[in-house]
């Protein structure tokens, strides 16, 4: 029974790892789009391999023991219960293994905190239940908009078929240029939220009354999706994040369009006010 159990588990783990190594599979972290996300991805795989080796070693021994040292096989119990040497060895080895895991992690932690010298700074504000984006500095300064779930209520309530990006589409995407360092400043309007885009390797809580910062530099163009990751009330599951990374030229065009619309809106507001 024991050996079957063991081989079953080894099989499951190996399968898990095999599929886990496949980039962008649904068994693993999404395909990394930034240096930090790549480091996270590699460290996770590294940690998994270490765990797998330890797992096989420990449960190999235990499995052998379960098969061989059973009463039904007529095995007589030994009576040892102590060995200082062995105890020291199996305290020291895990310590050394942990150092090998902690070392790369430490370097990444320091890199993650380096938000300085960014090209564009965007303030992200969490609201119950949507995100607000303000381009504070850099190209696009002055652009501000809200970003809300674009999935219809009828899809959510199973009245119409669900689209491809069900619950992961917004009305206004955060648009950023590729290859530029984007500094994200986070705060919240009411309760805690967390801004999380897995492919960019970014997750940071948004705290009302305080600002926090994080950063990313996207290596490739594309659309990357995430969700609020801190329980923020009833619509917590319905405030996705969509980041659209575009070529620099396209970004300049987008900025121009946004600023023009904003100016038209402002004019309209002034005219409306005057008309009143």
């Amino acid at each position: 029974m024991g050996s079957k159990l063991l081989s079953f588990w080894v099989g499951v783990m190996v399968l898990g790892f095999y599929s886990g190594s496949a980039v962008s599979s649904k068994y693993n972290l999404p395909e990394p789009q930034t240096i930090i996300a790549q480091q996270i991805y590699d460290q996770h795989i590294w940690a998994l391999w270490i765990c797998l080796v330890i797992f096989i070693a420990v449960f190999g021994v235990m499995g052998y023991s379960i098969v061989k040292h059973r009463k039904s096989a007529g095995y007589k119990a030994a009576n040892f219960h102590h060995s200082t040497t062995v105890e020291i060895i199996w305290t020291a080895i895990p310590c050394i293994i942990l150092i090998f895991m902690a070392w790369p992690a430490t370097k990444t932690v320091i890199a993650m905190k380096d938000t300085t010298e960014s090209d564009i700074t965007v303030k992200v504000t969490g609201y119950q239940w949507m995100w607000g984006y303000d381009y504070l500095q850099g190209e696009g300064e002055g652009i501000k908009f809200y970003s809300q779930l674009a999935t219809s209520q009828s899809e959510i309530h199973n009245e119409t078929p669900k689209g491809e990006n069900y619950l992961l589409e917004v009305n206004n995407r955060l648009v950023v240029p590729v290859g530029k360092k984007i500094r994200i400043i986070l705060t919240a309007n009411d309760v805690l939220h967390a801004w999380w885009v897995p492919a960019l390797g970014v997750k940071q809580d948004a705290i009302p009354g305080f600002i926090r910062d994080t950063w990313f530099t996207a290596d490739n163009v594309g659309v990357f999706r995430g969700q609020c990751a801190e329980l923020c009330g009833k619509e917590h599951g319905f405030m996705p994040i969509v980041v659209e990374v575009v070529e620099e030229q396209q970004y300049a065009q987008w900025v121009a369009d946004q600023l023009k619309t904003a100016a038209t809106d402002a004019n309209a507001a002034i005219i409306n006010a005057a008309a009143k």
């Binding site: 300085t116 504070l136 500095q137 400043i185 705060t187 009354g209 600002i211 926090r212 910062d213």
Partner: protein, 175 residues
């Protein structure tokens, strides 16, 4: 069974109860401890003007990009800095202007709470004038421009080039 056993037990009960009460107090003690910790590490803002050190040398070799940010919570006010960022040399005093305007027709009071990024910036950003030291009361429709005068301590760690100074106005009315 020894006769004095219950007395030992009662003594131990008393000790453990006192310990529990102390730990309850410790929960509360974490509030000032946390503030103290944040103050030492420069995360927590004291609502006090800093004293300007006249001898501070201006470090012309470095330029720090200070981004300015403004937020309002629970008030019908608009609140913004007149410039989005300022470039300063450490040691040189700088002034930035924020503008608040009450868009309702009632008199309202608010208090601004500052926040910094990176979080240890507070230790190096010496403010000798700030609208956040006192509460601000605005009449209906009133607009006010307020200054923050500060100097960046030249001791600011070398790897900091960009920083953010943020204020959030909170309503002082109880709802």
């Amino acid at each position: 069974m020894k006769l004095d056993e219950p007395r030992i037990n009662v003594k131990m009960l008393r000790k453990l109860l006192v310990f529990s009460v102390m730990m309850f107090g410790f929960g509360y003690a974490m509030v000032p401890l946390y503030e103290k910790f944040c103050e030492v590490t420069g995360i927590y803002e004291l609502q006090q003007p800093d004293v300007l050190d006249k001898n501070a040398k201006v470090d012309e070799t470095r330029i720090i990009n200070i981004q300015l940010d403004a937020n309002v919570r629970g008030l019908p006010w608009s609140f913004r800095p007149l410039q989005s960022a300022i470039q300063v040399h450490p040691g040189k005093s700088a002034e930035v202007i924020y503008e608040i305007s009450n868009q309702s027709d009632k008199t309202q009071a608010g208090q601004a709470i500052p926040s910094y990024s990176p979080r240890n910036l507070e230790r190096y950003l010496k403010k000798f004038e700030c609208f956040c030291f006192t509460q601000q009361e605005l009449e209906g429709g009133e607009t006010r421009q307020m200054a923050v005068r500060f100097v960046i301590d030249p001791e600011l760690p070398k790897d900091v080039h960009t920083a953010t100074l943020s204020y959030t106005f909170f309503s002082l009315m109880k709802d």
